[in-house]
């Protein structure tokens, strides 16, 4: 297919990822994209024998599909869904992560999602966490998600940072809770102690997949086999241990 041809011809694989989704992707002290996703991408490139180039357009631009040869692969923590499947191909699910509920540290009463009925709960817009709060998840595998609450006031944010800044003002001031990826939340809580508290660390399992542009089954197969190798020989788990401190790799 065209993508594989291009990668072979130019000897470079262009990886596209979110500019800032620590610890999966972020700009490190050397001003290079780094993190779990970046390292997986490096390893994939190494095994393919090509050089890696990373680009970081906005998430909307990545997920709009129709890459037109701009990018070859997206190892970028994308949750597969039926609708996304219409514009992108998913190679394989490479890790799972739990969705978590966070409240302000001064909020001593909330013990589960149920307690937030009718209250303001934030999530990053366009993520499975927002869909969860809207009770509108459509997992690609057709599994059914349980929602242990009636209805909350969903407050979507363009970036999670702002949601956390709002919650940091104190529970109920602007926000009562946030639902997000436990793994991205964890470092934030360590960085700003005494501000937040994780209430429920396992709301639902959020699968994350590697995506490629449509129309190149050979490339898809090739990437799948490389990832499979990395999974089998424990490379993925090692990377996971390095960045996350736990093995979250999907078996």
């Amino acid at each position: 297919g065209p993508t594989l041809d291009r990668v072979t011809k130019t000897g470079t694989m262009v990886q596209v990822m979110d500019q800032s989704y620590p610890p999966f992707s972020f700009l490190n002290d050397k001003n290079e994209m780094d993190g779990f996703d970046a390292e997986v991408a490096k390893e994939v490139a190494k095994r393919l024998g090509v050089t890696l180039k990373i680009e970081t357009p906005a998430w909307e631009v990545i997920t709009a599909g129709n890459w037109k040869g701009r990018w070859d692969i997206c190892i970028c923590s994308m949750t597969p869904s039926k609708q996304r499947g219409e514009v992108l191909d998913f190679v394989t699910i490479y890790y799972n992560t739990p969705g978590a509920l966070v409240v302000s540290a001064d909020d001593k009463t909330t013990t589960s999602m149920k307690d937030l009925n009718g209250k303001k709960v934030g999530a990053q817009s366009g993520t499975p966490y927002e869909e969860y709060l809207n009770k509108a998840m459509h997992p690609e595998d057709g599994s059914v998600v349980k929602y242990p609450f009636e209805a909350v006031t969903v407050t979507p944010f363009a970036s999670e940072d702002l949601a956390f800044q709002d919650l940091a003002l104190g529970g109920g001031k602007r926000l009562d809770g946030i639902v997000g990826n436990l793994i991205t939340i964890q470092p934030r809580i360590t960085q700003t102690p005494d501000k937040f508290r994780v209430v429920d660390a396992n709301l639902f399992a959020d699968p994350n997949a590697i995506a490629v542009d449509k129309g190149d089954p050979e490339w898809k197969a090739k990437v799948a086999s490389v990832i499979d190798d990395m999974r089998k020989d424990g490379t993925l788990s090692k990377i996971s241990m390095k960045w996350i401190g736990a093995d979250i790799i999907a078996k």
Partner: protein, 253 residues
Amino acid sequence: MSFKGKVFLVWMLLAACFAAFVASFDLKLSLIAEKLPFLLGLHLTPNGFIQGLPLTLFLCLAAMVFSTILGFLAALGRLSGNPLAYGLATFYTSFFRGTPLLVQLMLIYLGLPQLGPVPGAVPAGIIALSLCYGAYISEIFRAGIQAVPNGQREAAAALGLPRWLVMYKVILPQALKLIVPPLGAQFISMLKDSSLVSMVGLWEIMFLAQSYGRSSYRYMEMLLTAAVLYWLLSIVFEAIQARIEARFPQGRH
């Protein structure tokens, strides 16, 4: 055929070209039809607040009023011989013209709570838009006021009118003719910049378009819908501006 008729034809032709270009994206029109009522604000948010187009309009109208007042005051400051007024006005305009609206919004939304008051999203958005555009508008007022021929000021002063009255009855009414066109242009800019306040969680047009676009993975459809709404709004704004301009007496001696 008249000139106007020909121009209209050219417009239709270009609009058709644009439509053909857009059609090449293979858009899912059903999605647009489904989401349009929300963008138009025909329903309230789950909180019972206005959303979409009415919210955008509300934010802009409020910010228009405040930014015009601010801009006028800052213009007086810049024209004043008082170093305090002049310094305040120039510092204000320099800062708010020189820094991105996004940063200003964040300073107000996240910074003000450090000092005590916790502004809600709507006030924060209106304050940020007003402060930012007030800085631009002050320049418009300054230029408009200065363009009124000095003879007008002198004639009014020679009649023994006090200074505020000269400004209010003689200078401002004449300056308006020069002020209205660029002011209208600023308001059209503001219309689009108001989308930035979606940052703080206001469900205006762009916010809804982006969240629907993200959740349905049909980003282009929603963006284009938003674009058409903004375009229509700005055409309406321009028409209102043209009407106001037409009411000014034409001649000047």
